[in-house]
């Protein structure tokens, strides 16, 4: 009996021990970070501001940004005429379900806008004691929100305008007018311009938004906004655009920006870092940990043509990575330049390649490239001999030249459509000197998002629309003077344009000048949609880029992605953009 008591005592003890293990079921997550814990001190809050820059880097330097902003315009067609990103490069199959690169912008930029809203909404709880510091951070956030919203409203029109952080399952949305978008954009940019410091304040963090960034963006926003208005409203915004652009130009020294003396200097890869002409920069670092992803900036590759593997040529750092072609110029774009007097052509496009590999012409290669028997045995000397030439000129005796040579008639048909399936004149603005591996795709160059030259063009366009042709010509001539070839013969005089020429040339002249100055710089699609109504938009593209045949007037806006409408419980009420 005694033994039984002992046994029961042992079992009883064990049972009680077992039942008493009522552990805490609260989650323990020391590695996690919540917004409430992170963004409530000034030091922690900076991480919210830094995070707001993130999605720009998914746009600039990546494929989507280039395709959606330069593709589908009068300037570019898909490289080698292949089927690529047809929705935005050719307007083929652009539907709500199949938005291509445009849909990516929608998703990424709204993500960024939510980040901005979270910061703007929470900054009062972040414990800033220095009001100027707080306003600088708020200035960055409001600059960024305006930047993202400008892209959203220009691409998609009056869609969903959110100004608060999403904190619960919000399944409905309402449309806001384009003017409501611009009211927010302009308000944000004015605040940013008032509160952001000059560029020098940021020191080595030069790619943060500064006062010149906000003013530059504001000038761009005023100009875009003007075209949505009529009569006095339109004139008012044009004046604001001009005034703001001129303000930047006038205060350029104070704001920390200046024009280079020549286009060659502007695009010299050695001048890429913290480029002095920039008003706003997306920076990339050779330290991949500071870049959006391991690919960094691949803009250097999108506009190049194939040169490696041609007789006498192997891939080199100097000539760039030619394995990821995306866009090639239209004949219209090449012919916009008078390369005899305008230095921008040579600074922007590459027509000749010098051999970087020994080669001697033989019979089979000569046959492949259509060469005459006279070239047989000609040796190409690396560093000296010309190996390839792709030119907008007409060349008379191509067969006898001991290098690969295609002229304008090989590259384009007489109606302006693209003829060559293998070669084109490449844009070289974005050649990247920071790359280290010849065959590596990542690039680490900075990207100028807004630069001072655009201010002259904005000012000129506003003056033109206001009827001040002389003022317009004056601004254009600043850029044209800079662009003029100076040696051996100074072509400055030849480059000057008169008020009458501007007036006669009309808006097309302004657009042509923008193309000469800014081609490839993520703006062309916005330019066309800004200045043209639907039919003009279609006609311009079809005339100058005859390979694009499917563009229609409603393509001035992209479709709202179907996934957005599917996720909305009031998707039908929200509605699709017209035409889709």
């Amino acid at each position: 009996m005694k033994s039984n008591k002992y046994k029961i005592a042992v079992v009883g003890f064990c049972v009680i021990a077992a039942l008493s293990c009522t552990k805490n079921l609260n989650e323990y997550n020391p590695g996690g970070a919540t917004p409430d814990a992170t963004w409530t001190t000034p030091e922690g809050f900076v991480t919210a501001v830094n995070g707001a820059y993130q999605e720009q880097r998914a746009y600039y330097g990546k494929e989507d940004g280039t395709l959606v902003s330069e593709g589908g315009t009068d300037l570019w067609f898909t490289a080698n005429k292949i089927s690529f990103a047809n929705q935005v490069t050719k307007y083929i199959g652009l539907t709500p379900a199949s938005t291509g690169s445009a849909g990516t912008i929608f998703r990424l930029f709204y993500r960024a806008i939510n980040q901005c809203n979270a910061g703007i909404n929470r900054i009062d709880g972040a414990g800033f004691t220095d009001q100027a510091d707080k306003n600088r951070r708020l200035g960055e956030l409001r600059f960024l929100r305006a930047f993202y919203y400008w892209h959203i409203v220009e691409q998609f029109g009056g869609v969903n305008l959110r100004t608060t952080e999403t904190q619960s399952a919000e399944l409905t949305a309402t449309r806001s007018s384009v003017s409501a978008f611009y009211d927010l954009i302009i308000g944000d940019l004015k605040f940013a311009a008032d509160n952001l410091p000059n560029a020098t304040f940021w020191g080595n963090e030069y790619s943060r938004a500064s006062k010149k960034s906000a003013l530059g963006m504001l000038a761009r926003a005023y100009l875009s906004r003007a075209y949505y208005g009529t009569g006095q409203e339109r004139a008012d915004y044009l004046v604001l655009a001009r005034t703001t652009a001129n303000d930047v130009i006038t205060r350029k020294a104070e704001l920390g920006s200046d024009l280079w003396v020549s286009p060659a200097d502007l695009w010299n890869p050695a001048n890429n870092r913290n480029n002095k002409e920039a008003l706003y920069i997306i920076s990339n670092s050779t330290n991949a940990q500071l870049d959006y992803d391991a690919n960094g900036n691949r803009l250097h590759a999108w506009y190049l043509t194939t040169y490696s593997g041609r007789p006498g040529l192997v891939r080199s750092l100097a000539y760039g990575f030619d394995g990821q072609k995306r866009l090639q110029p239209t004949r219209f774009l090449l012919n916009l330049f008078n390369e005899q007097i305008d230095g921008r052509y040579a600074a922007s496009f590459q027509e000749t390649w010098t051999a970087n590999n020994a080669f001697t012409w033989n019979a089979s290669t000569a046959a492949t490239y259509g060469k005459a028997a006279s070239v047989l045995g000609t040796a190409l000397v690396p560093g000296t001999s010309r190996a390839m030439e792709l030119t907008k000129q007409v060349v008379a005796d191509k067969a006898t030249k001991p290098w690969v040579l295609y002229d304008i008639n090989d590259l384009y048909n007489t109606n302006g459509t693209i003829k060559s399936l293998t070669d084109f004149v490449p844009l070289k603005k974005f050649l990247d000197a920071s790359r280290t591996a010849v065959d590596g795709q990542p690039g680490f160059a900075d990207i100028m998002v807004i630069r001072l030259a655009e201010m002259y063009l904005i000012s000129a366009e506003a003056e033109f629309q206001l009827g001040n042709y002389a003022a317009a010509a004056t601004q254009l001539n600043v850029l044209r003077t800079r662009a003029a070839i100076k040696v051996p013969v100074n072509q400055t005089a030849a480059m000057q344009v008169s008020a009458a020429e501007v007036q006669t040339g009309g808006i097309d002249f302004i657009l042509d000048e923008r193309a000469r100055e800014l081609c490839g710089e993520h703006l062309r699609w916005y330019d066309l949609k800004r200045v043209f109504n639907g039919n003009q938009f279609v006609n311009r593209i079809k005339l100058d880029n005859p390979d694009i045949v499917d563009v229609q007037s409603f393509h001035r806006l992209r479709p709202v992605p179907q996934v957005e409408l599917n996720a909305l419980s009031n998707g039908a009420e929200f509605g699709q953009n017209e035409g889709y």
Partner: protein, 1009 residues
């Protein structure tokens, strides 16, 4: 007074009888192969006398002299035998026959055991002898097709790959969040020696396993409450037995390979496709080769006829081997089982192998008559050399150039002058690409079992799992992984985990006349912690340092991350079993569960279950039905749960992201995309199960049948938010599903003569699943693979239905897609509403689903004298697979693709694949090409054929060997696929192109001393 007289007489007689005894000697053997059975229990009827057979199967028991005696012999896994001997019998031999699903078998269930006779739930059992029949390192692969309701497929052809397992269909909704890291939200709970989640099944040597039980219905699984919704797999390892130590050695050696995989295009076949892609649609002209091959190196290779079949160069035949030595033995009080195992598998790709070492120790000790204790556990160490699967590269690489340099080394750039197209076999260069993981897992389970008074036992079980792994990776600038970046990268990932599960089970057993009760009370606690640290860098100085000196990487490039995950689970449960006369059975249970990962206020819930059984064959009216040996009807109903979300999924968290301004690093946090839903609760499954177990015709036929219906509600799903919210998903309880099906197992002895036996076991499982309810009553339309549609299975494929290719004869074509009119050679998809416009909202439909309609296995075993032949057939029918390699059709010929695809050209009006053209599939055939990818994956295969020969005892006994068996096994021998596109592919893999399944030919030996 009378009573006392009788009692006195009885005692006197008893004493007399006891005085007059003799020793009856005998031997217990396996009726099939005449192996001695060690540790069989021999009981004398009408007495407490009981003996165990020794290592030779011999026993000696004292029996009353001069009269007939009846003894009963019992051995687990064999049918009991009761024999009567006359007073002169001596040196008797008793042969026990293996009994499948024997009613007297003890079945392991949640927190206890029960005789199959008394079972009211649905439990499938697979015994040790069946588990080692298929030579594989993973015990679950070995039970493929042997347990009804359990759908098992090998996950890939990689060395050391595990299995995909799903019991009775899909309840929870797999999604990007809950499947991250290879987790399957529909995976069953694995219980190893009583420990929930007691380590990885891949770490357990199949030779160490005594039995595997699969609990399927809610009555059986509800005792596991929140972890039971997807079924429970209970693995019990071998224990020591009393008697002289018995040593066994088993080994096999074999070859992996002969993989079926679509061959790439070669020679003119390839050139023609590429040229065709350049055909001008307007003029019909194909330009000259210098336009078609603008790269000079390619053109030269074409002209020189340098074609390469990369697939052939990328694959090989690998080897596999396994060795296990185990020892079983023990005294009356202490029993032990020790085992040492080694397994190595080489895949069909060079540098892909898996090594595993196991050391197991299972020790039980009886301190006294009421206190037992023991320790069970193992150390498993594994090393895996993984690699980036090059098959997609081999299939798609331009089949031109020179694969090897003159000195036999690999030519990194096969096409002269083209330094962007890297060789698909570049990773075979020595040291070019290393990805090696070493892992160790220590399991130790200690238990104490107290039986203080009759009928009452208390068992405390503490199971621990300590895991650690290290993955080291190095890729040089010209490896496939770094090809686009062209710099080397090295990294090390360290993981460690600590896990324990402490269960306490109090059981009270009581019998009053014909009433029998068992009451069980349980407390269960689980605690898990895992940590991870990653360090990596790029551009290290010396490639030969691999990942062993990260300090030699470029200092600004180094990355480090670390993470911590913890979760806790606490549960209390109670269960009562009642049986009346072994005829009427009843079980009821309830469990309360609390989980740390659920939202506050919703952490706790309860999971009840009831079940009943009626053993019809014990009723008087069945006495005369001689054909039926036993017949039981069962019914059960219960509720189980699942949380399917990962720890911390109910918290709104920030991600750190890369950011810098200029060269200045900038810490940045962004939202992780999930919005918190404060009222997130358990997924709950309500299951009704009706079943029967029948044994008939002198136990030659055994049938098990179950019908079940599971309704699951409150399914957790990360619902997509509108993109304009800037957030991605919100977890909500959004859906209900239903699974209904039948499981059948039929075991028969078809023929039995003196020397020949043919027996077979067939399993058949049919399941139909559907979504019955969705939040807001609206279908959730995402991409083709993760749309949720009311009335369709969970993993349905929702897309356009391909119906061939548009032909010249269809002209003029008016049907459009996205406003573009189809042209001859385009893919033709079904216009559901006939409006002439293929529209994403109107014309998509469910074209198939991932889970099979039914699946089954058929096991046939033939024994003739010393020979045994086992043939295992399996079939899965009605599932749709995404044939990834079909997506490798390359219409531009810029890259290669499978060679047997018949594509449309103006001169070849094929109806199978579309017209070649310049651009990618997605650009040329936007939204329609996917309609070709999803195809019927139904197949039938001869999974295993095994032929063995056991040497006669007369030969082996001279060498003190009790059993010596040789065998040869061929796996994945033959497959028949319903869809001809799968002709060159093993569809058990499920459509993925990486790591296809190969065949195995294995030779083995089993040796027992």
């Amino acid at each position: 007074m009378k009573k006392i007289y009788f009692l006195t007489t009885f005692l006197f007689l008893a004493a007399f009888v006891q005085a007059q005894t003799r020793a009856l000697n005998g031997r217990v053997l396996d009726a099939g192969n005449s192996d001695p059975l060690i540790g069989a229990t021999i009981t004398l009827q009408g007495s407490a006398s009981r003996q165990l057979s020794n290592s030779n199967g011999k026993f000696s028991i004292n029996v009353p002299d001069g009269q007939n005696v009846t003894i009963t012999v019992r051995y687990i896994g064999y049918a009991d035998q009761t024999v009567t001997f006359n007073p002169n019998d001596q040196d008797v031999t008793i042969k026990l026959a293996i009994q499948q699903n024997s009613l007297e078998d003890v079945v392991v269930v949640g927190f206890g055991t029960i005789k199959r006779r008394d079972l009211t739930g649905s439990v499938a059992t697979v015994k040790a002898s069946d588990i080692v029949k298929a030579p594989t390192h993973n015990a679950l692969e070995a039970i493929q097709g042997r347990a009804p309701g359990v759908d098992i497929t090998r996950s890939s052809g990689n060395a050391g790959a595990g299995v995909n397992i799903q019991i009775r269909g899909t309840r929870s909704i797999p999604n990007a969040l809950n499947t991250a890291g290879g987790i399957n939200p529909n995976a069953p709970l694995l219980v190893v020696d009583g420990v929930q989640n007691g380590g990885s099944i891949n770490n357990i040597n199949p030779n160490d396993i005594e039995s595997i039980e699969v609990l399927q219905d809610a009555a059986s699984t509800a005792i596991y409450g929140s972890q039971g919704a997807n079924g429970v797999i209970i693995v019990t390892t071998k224990k020591g037995v009393t008697g002289k130590a018995k040593i066994s050695y088993s080994a096999y050696y074999g070859i992996n390979g002969w993989t079926k995989f679509p061959q790439p295009r070669l020679g003119e076949d390839y050139l023609n496709l590429r040229r065709e892609s350049y055909r001008d649609p307007a003029t019909g002209v194909i330009p000259a080769d210098n336009v078609v091959f603008p790269n000079a190196g390619e053109l030269a290779a074409v002209q020189a006829g340098q074609f390469v079949n990369w697939l052939e160069l990328a694959t090989q035949n690998g080897k596999q081997q396994s060795h296990t030595v185990n020892v079983r033995g023990g005294s009356e009080n202490t029993k032990a089982f020790f085992s040492v195992g080694y397994f190595k598998e080489e895949g069909q790709l060079a540098n892909n192998d898996y090594n595993r070492y196991n050391f197991r120790y299972n020790i039980d000790h009886k301190l006294n008559n009421w206190f037992k204790t023991g320790i069970v556990g193992q150390l498993a160490f594994n090393k895996t050399n993984a690699r980036r699967d090059p098959l997609s590269n081999a299939l798609t690489a331009i089949p031109l150039g020179t694969a090897y340099n003159a000195d036999g080394s690999i030519n990194t750039f096969p096409i002269a002058g083209n330094t962007s197209t890297i060789s698909p076999i570049t990773d075979l260069r020595p040291g070019a690409s290393v990805d090696v993981t070493t892992g160790s897992e220590i399991n130790a389970t200690g238990y104490a079992e107290l039986a203080p008074i009759k009928g009452l036992t208390f068992r405390s079980n503490l199971g621990t799992v300590l895991g650690s792994s290290r993955r080291g990776q190095f890729n040089d600038p010209f490896s496939l992984a770094q090809n686009n970046l062209r710099y080397s990268a090295a990294s090390v990932t360290n993981q460690s985990s600590r896990y324990y599960n402490w269960d306490n089970v109090l059981t009270y057993n009581h019998e009053i006349q014909k009433h029998s009760f068992t009451v069980t009370a349980i407390s269960s606690y689980i605690h898990s912690e895992a940590e991870e640290a990653f360090a990596g860098g790029i551009r290290q100085v010396l490639s030969s340092q691999l990942f062993y000196n990260l300090a030699s990487t470029e200092s600004t490039s180094r990355t480090t991350t670390s993470g911590f995950t913890r979760y806790d689970l606490l549960a209390y449960a109670g269960r009562i079993n009642y049986s009346f006369d072994g005829k009427y059975l009843f079980q009821g249970s309830i469990r309360w569960d609390g989980a740390s990962r659920l939202a506050p206020g919703h952490k706790w819930d309860s999971f009840p279950a009831v079940s009943a059984g009626w053993v019809v064959s014990r009723e008087a009216f069945m006495k005369d039905v001689k054909q039926i040996n036993s017949l039981k009807l069962r019914a059960s109903y219960g509720i189980t749960g699942n949380s399917t979300i990962k720890p911390y999924d109910t918290q709104s968290l920030l991600n750190t992201t890369n950011m810098g301004f200029g060269d200045i690093p900038a810490p940045a946090y962004t939202f992780n995309g999930n919005i918190v839903s404060p009222d997130l609760g358990w997924e709950k499954s309500r299951t009704i199960d009706i079943g029967t177990d029948v044994t008939a015709f002198k136990s030659r036929v055994t049938l098990g049948f179950d019908w079940y219906l599971t309704k699951t509600s409150d399914l957790l799903y990360p619902r997509s938010l509108p993109q304009s919210t800037g957030q991605t998903t919100v977890y909500q309880n959004i859906a209900s599903t239903q699974n209904e099906g039948v499981n059948i197992i039929l075991s028969t002895v078809n023929l039995q003569t003196k020397n020949f036996k043919w027996s077979s076991t067939a399993t058949f499982s049919k399941n139909s699943e559907k979504i019955t309810k969705l939040i807001d009553g609206r279908n959730i339309i995402n991409t083709e693979e993760n749309s949720l549609l009311i009335g369709s299975p969970v993993q349905s494929y929702y897309l356009y239905k391909g119906i061939g290719i548009w032909q010249q004869s269809d002209m003029p074509i008016t049907t459009t897609l996205n406003g573009v009119t189809f042209k001859p050679g385009d893919i033709k998809v079904e216009d559901q509403n006939g409006d002439g416009k293929i529209d994403i909202n109107d014309d998509r439909r469910v074209v198939g689903h991932q889970q099979p309609d039914w699946y089954g296995g058929l096991q046939n075993t033939f024994n003739y004298k010393g020979f045994d032949l086992n043939i295992f057939l399996m079939a899965r029918y009605g599932q749709t697979v995404k044939g990834e390699f079909i997506g490798r059709y390359n219409p531009s010929g810029e890259a290669n693709g499978p060679g047997n695809f018949n594509y449309w050209t103006i001169n070849n009006p094929s109806n199978d694949f579309p017209r070649p053209g310049r651009g990618s599939l997605t650009n040329l055939y936007p939204n329609t090409y996917t309609s070709l990818l999803y195809i019927d994956g139904s197949f039938f295969k001869i999974k295993n054929v095994s032929l063995g020969y056991t040497l006669p005892k007369s030969m082996t006994e001279k060498f003190k060997i009790s059993t010596l068996r040789f065998y040869a096994t061929a796996s994945n021998l033959f497959t028949y696929s319903k869809n001809p596109l799968l002709k060159d592919y093993d569809p058990e893999r499920g459509g993925a192109e990486s790591s296809p399944l190969g065949r195995q030919l294995v030779f083995g030996v089993n040796l027992d001393f």
